[in-house]
Symmetry: C5
Subunit: 307 residues, 5 copies
C-alpha cells in the first residue's frame, strides 16, 4: 500500500529470480545436511554474519548513493535539456525579426525549432547506442541530413548547424549582435548537457567496487545459513531467502540506476522527455493541436513508473 | 518541548494508525501463544533483529536523505521563483521607459507584473494536478486566456507571452537591446525553475528501493517479538509497538517528503509562496495596501507548520 | 584543550540541565529499586540498548547533517551578502561618472552605498523578527523611510529603491546601459541571497523527524539503566547520565543549528556581519577612520565564538 | 554476471597480491600454533574484531566517498573541457567573419581550433607529469612552440596565445566586441577547468586519514584470526583471507581513485578524451574523414573499462 | 607502502603524543589493579565499549566529513583565485589597447598584473592573521601603499584600486565599455573567493559538536580497558593504546582540517599558491625567466605533502 498501485512486484523480482533460486537450493542443501546427516558442527555464531551484514550494508549504502547520484544527474541533465529547448524556442521566436515579417524568416524560425526537436531525439538515440538519425528524418530537410553524414557525433553536428544559422541570421540583420551572443549561450548550455550525458554514458562505475561488493555479498550469503540454522531450524530456509533477496535486490537496483542510458525500462525516459519537448515546441509554433487536457500528462506517468 | 508547540502529535500518528494497530495485534498474538500455550521454543536470539535493525537503519537513512533532498530542492526551486519574480518586477518597473511616461507603458508594466503573479499561481496548480487557470482569471485579460487554450502546459504559454511582450516593447523602443536580453535571462531562470519542479513531480523515486525497504521493515517487525519476548515478558508488547512505530513513522515521512507536489498538507507550500509573491509584487506596483505589519508573516507560519 | 579556550562549558550544559536532572533522578530511582527492593529481574540484556543506540546514532547523524547544512547555507548566504555588498559599492564608486564630477553625483554615490548598508541591517533585523527599520534611520533620508512604510517586506523595498536610482542615473547619463545591466545583476544576486535566507527562516525542519528522533531518544534512555545495571552496579548512574547527556547535547545542538535566524547566541551573526560590511563600505567612501589595526577583527571573533 | 564481461579479475587481484599472500601466511601461522602447539588460549571473543570491522567500514566508507568525489570531479572537469572545446570551435567558426571570407581568416580559424586540440593534449600530458609539448608539435607552428619555451606551465601559455589572437582578430574587425568578450568567457571556463585539474593533482589527500585507516586495517587483520579460530577451525584461513582481501581491495581502490592523474590504468582517460575532442573538432573543420560509424565509440569503451 | 614515501610518521604521532602517553599510563594502572590487587570485578562486558565505539565512529565520520568539506572548500577557493588571477592577467594584457601601444599603457598593464600578485600574497597573509602588506611592498608603488593605510581590510582596498584603474582606463579609451564590465566581473569573482575564505576563517565549527565528540571519546577510552582486560590480559595495554590512538588521531586531524588558515603545516598552502600565481603572471608579462622545467612543480609537491 506504500507504493504506487501499478508496480508489478513480479517485474521487480523477475530480475533476480535466478539468484534467488540458487540461494534457495543452497539453503535447502545446508538444511538437509544439518538434519539428515546430523552434521550439526557446521553451525557458527550469528555474530559472524552480523558483522558481514553490517559491513555489506555500509558498502551497499555507498554504492546505492553513487548510483542514485548518477541516475539523478542524468535526469537533471535531461531536465536542463527541456528547459533550454523551451528557452531556445522562445528566443528564436521573439528575437528573430525582419522588416516585413518575411516568409523566409518564418520558415527560418520553424526550421530552427524543428531542428532543436530533432536534436533531442537524436541525442536520446545516440546515448542508447541506437541509430541517431532514424526518428528525425521528418524534422530535417535533406541538405541537413547530408551534412550529418560527415560527423561521427550527430548531435554535435546539429548544434554546429544551429551556430551556422545564427551566423546567417546575424549577417542578414534578423538578429542583432547581442541576440546572437545570447542564443549562442543557450547553445553552450545545450552543449554542456549533451557532454554531461556522454560523460555518464562513457564512464564506467569503478569496477573494483562492484566486484568487491559482489564478492562480499556472496560470502555473506554463504555463511548466513550456518549462522541461523541452530536457532531457526526449518524456518532457516525462508529467512535466508528473504534476507538474501533484499540484498540482491538492492545490488541489482544500483546496477540498473548507475547506467541510465542502456535501453532498459529503468532508463532515464529520454524518448518520453523528447516527446514532451516536441509537443511544447510545436505548440509554440502554433502547429500541433492537442486537445485541451488540463491534467498533467497522465500517459507519461504511466510510462516510466518503474523509476 | 523540543518541537514547535502547535504540532498535533495526533496528526502525526494518525498517518500510521492502521499499521500500528496491526503490529499491536500481531505482538499480542505472539504474547498469547508464548504464555498460554507455552510455545516458548519460538524465542530467537536478539542478535537477529539487531542485525536487521542496523541494516534497516542504514536503508532508511539513505532513503530519508534522498527524500529530504528532493523536498529541499523543491523548496529551493520555489525560493528561486520568489527571487526571480521580484527581480522580474524590479526590472520591468525600472527598465521600461517611454518619452512621456505614457499611460500605455504604465499599463504594460502592470499587465506584465500581474501575468508574472498569474504564472506563479498557475505553476503551483499545474504541479498539483489542479486546474491551472482557475485562480488566475482576474490577473489576465481575455485575449491571454484564449491564447492559453492552445497550450497543454499553461506556464510555458505564459512565459512565451512574456517573451512576446518583451519583443513588442523592444520594437516600440521602451527597452533597449541590452535590457531585452537581461529580461530574457530572467525568463530563462524562471523556465529552469519550472522545469526543475516538473522533473521532481514526474520522476518517481526508484520503486525497488521503496519496495525493498518496506519488505525489510516487515521482516524486521515480524521477527522482533520473538527476539525480545524472553527478556521482556509482558513488556514485550509496548516495546515492539514503540520500536515498530518509530520505523513506520520515518518510512512514512520519507514517502511524504519525496513527492512534494501531491496536494497534501506536507507539500511544498506553493499557494502560500505564490501569495507572498502576489503581495510583494502588488506593493511594488503601489497597488495593494496591506496594513503595516512588521512581524514576518505570522499567518504563513501557521499554515505550513507540518513541514 | 581541543576547543577554543573561552568556550564556557557551563553555557553548553546549561541548555540541557533540566533534561540531565530528569535522567539523573530516573537512574537513581532504578538504582534504588534494584538494590533496596532487590527487584533484580528488571535487568535486560545490553544488546537491546545497543541496538537502539546504533539506530539513534544514525538518526542523529542524519539530523545533524541536515541541521548543519541549513546553518552553513545561512552562513554562506550572508557571506554572499558581504561579497555582493562590496561588489555593489565598488561598482557604484567606479561606474558612476559625471562630466565635472558633480556634487550631485558624489551625493548619489554616498546615498546608494549607505542604503546598501541599511539593507544589510534591515535584512538581519527582519529575519530575526525584529523591527527592520530601527537601526537604519541614520542611513536613509526621510523620503526613503516614507517609501518603506508601504511595504510589508522592507528589504524588498530597499532593493526596489536601488533599482529606481539606477534607472535615474541611467537617464541622467551617469552610467551607461551596460553598467545599468551589470549593477542590476548585482541587485539580482542580493535578491537571491535575501530569498535564500527567507526560505531557511520560513521552512520548518520536517517535524516528524524531530518528533521521531525525540521519541527514540526517550525510549533509549528509558531502557539504558536496565541494560547496564547488572554490570556496573552503583556506577550505572554516572554512566547513564554521561551517555544520555551526549545524546541530548547533540540533539539540542541540531535544534539550534537548524534555525539560524531566531535571535539566539547560536544564530548566524547577522549583526556582526552587517557591521563588517558597514566598516568596509564606509572606508571605501573614505568616511570612516578606524585606526589601523592589522590583526583581523579580534572583537568579532569574541562575539560569535559559540558557533 | 553482474559485471561487464571483460573485466579481468586477475588484474583486480593483481594489485593486492603481496598483501593477500602476507595475510595467508599470517593466518596459516596462527592456525599452526593453535592446532599443533595447542596454544588455544589465544582465542578472543568475536566481538572485538566485530567492533573493529564496523569502525573500519565507516572509515573506509568516508574515504571511498572522498576518493570517489575527487575522481568524479576530475572526470567532470574533463567533461567540461570537452564541452568548452566544442563551444570554442563553434564560436570561432561562426563568429569570425571577414568581408570576402578571406583565406587569412580561414587559416586563422583552423589554427585556432587546432591550438585548442593541442591545449587538450598538452594539459593531459602536463597533469600526468609527461612532456606537455610532445604530442602537439604537428598542431602548432614553430613560432608558437618558441613562445611556449618561456613558460613553465604550457597550457597557460596556449590560453594566453588564444587571448592574443582574439585581440588581433578584434583589431582586424573579424569579430565584434561582444564576440571577443564571449570568446574570452569560454577561455575563462577553460582556465577554470585547467585550474581544477591542477588543484586535484597538487592537493594530497590528508595523509593522516590514509595512515590511520591503514593502521586500523592492520590491527583488524591481526586480530581477526584469533576471533574466528575457535568457531571455524581449519576453515578460518580462507575466511580470514576472504574478509581481509575485501578490505584491502577497497582501500587500494580508494588510493587509486583519489589521484586520477598519475599515469595509471585507473586514471581519468585524458588521452582518450583528448582524442574525442580531436576528432569532433577536426570534423567541424571538415578535415577529418572518419568513416560513418553510428555506434558510439566502441574502441573508446574498451580502453577505459577499468573505471 | 600505501603512502607517499616522505611522510614522517613521527610527525603525525607527534601531534597526539601527550594524549597517547596519558592513555598508556591509564591502561597500565588498570592492568596493575587487575593483576596485583586481584580487583577482577572491574571487568565489564565488551558490548559496552562496542556500543560506544560504534556511536563514536558515526560522530567522527560526521565531524571528519564537515572538516574535510571546509578544508576542501578552502582549497577550491584558492584554486578559483589561481584561475581568476590568470584570467585577469589574460584580460588585462589582451583587452587594454592604445593607438600607438604607448609606454603608459604598458606600464599600466604591468602595474595592474603586479597588484593582482600583491593581492594574492596579501589575502594569504591576512587570512593567517599576519601582516598583510609585508610581502607586497616590492609589487606596489608608494601611493598605493599609502592608500592601503586607510583600510582595515587590505585585500578589499586592492580590489577597489583595481576598480578605480579600470575606470581610469575606460575614461582614457584604453578599454571599451564591454571590456570594463567583463573585467569588473573578474573582480567580482575575486571578491567572492576572498569572502568565502573569510567566511571559513571567521566561522568557528559548532563548538558543541567538538565538545560532545571529545567527551564521548574520553568516556570510550575510560571504559575500554575494563571491557577487554578479561580477554586479553597483558595484551590489553598495547591494544587499548592502539585503538585509542586511532580515534585520537582522527579527531586531531578533523580539528586541523576544519581551520585551514591558522598558520600551521596542515594549512591550505596559500603562500605556495601565491608563488605559483606570481610565477605564471610574471611569465605572462615576459618578465620572469625561470629555466625551462617540464616536470610540474617538484618543489611545490614537497612543501605541502602533509595535506
Amino acid at each position: 500500500m506504500l507504493l504506487k498501485k501499478n508496480i508489478p512486484i513480479k517485474y521487480v523480482f523477475g530480475k533476480i529470480k535466478v539468484e534467488v533460486l540458487l540461494v534457495l537450493l543452497y539453503a535447502l542443501l545446508v538444511e538437509v545436511m544439518y538434519i539428515n546427516i546430523h552434521f550439526t558442527r557446521i553451525s557458527i555464531p550469528i555474530a559472524v554474519p552480523t558483522m558481514l551484514g553490517t559491513i555489506l550494508s555500509l558498502l551497499l549504502a555507498f554504492r546505492s548513493n553513487q548510483a542514485y547520484d548518477r541516475w539523478w544527474e542524468a535526469r537533471t541533465l535531461w531536465g536542463a535539456i527541456v528547459n533550454d529547448s523551451r528557452t531556445l524556442a522562445r528566443q528564436i521566436l521573439n528575437f528573430v525579426d525582419t522588416p516585413y515579417n518575411s516568409v523566409e524568416a518564418l520558415y527560418f524560425k520553424e526550421m530552427f525549432v524543428k531542428r532543436q526537436i530533432a536534436w533531442c531525439y537524436s541525442l536520446g538515440q545516440s546515448l542508447r547506442g541506437l541509430n541517431p538519425v532514424q526518428e528525425v528524418e521528418s524534422l530535417l530537410h535533406s541538405g541537413q541530413l547530408d551534412y550529418l553524414e560527415e560527423f561521427t557525433n550527430k548531435p554535435v553536428a546539429l548544434l554546429e548547424l544551429h551556430g551556422e544559422d545564427l551566423h546567417r541570421a546575424y549577417k542578414a540583420g534578423w538578429i542583432n549582435k547581442h541576440q546572437q551572443i545570447e542564443l549562442d549561450r543557450t547553445l553552450t548550455r545545450l552543449t554542456n548537457s549533451m557532454g554531461g550525458c556522454e560523460r555518464i554514458k562513457n564512464t564506467v562505475f569503478p569496477a573494483t567496487y562492484s566486484l568487491y561488493t559482489h564478492l562480499a555479498l556472496i560470502l555473506f550469503i554463504s555463511l548466513l545459513p550456518f549462522g541461523v540454522i541452530d536457532v531457526f531450524g526449518m524456518m532457516m530456509v525462508p529467512l535466508v531467502v528473504a534476507i538474501a533477496s533484499s540484498f540482491l535486490l538492492i545490488e541489482k537496483m544500483a546496477i540498473h540506476l548507475q547506467d541510465p542510458f542502456e535501453n532498459k525500462p529503468t532508463d532515464t525516459p529520454v524518448t518520453t522527455i523528447a516527446q514532451t519537448i516536441d509537443r511544447d515546441l510545436k505548440q509554440m509554433l502554433r502547429e500541433y493541436q492537442e486537445p485541451k487536457i488540463l491534467s498533467p500528462k497522465p500517459q507519461t506517468a504511466a510510462k516510466f513508473y518503474i523509476l
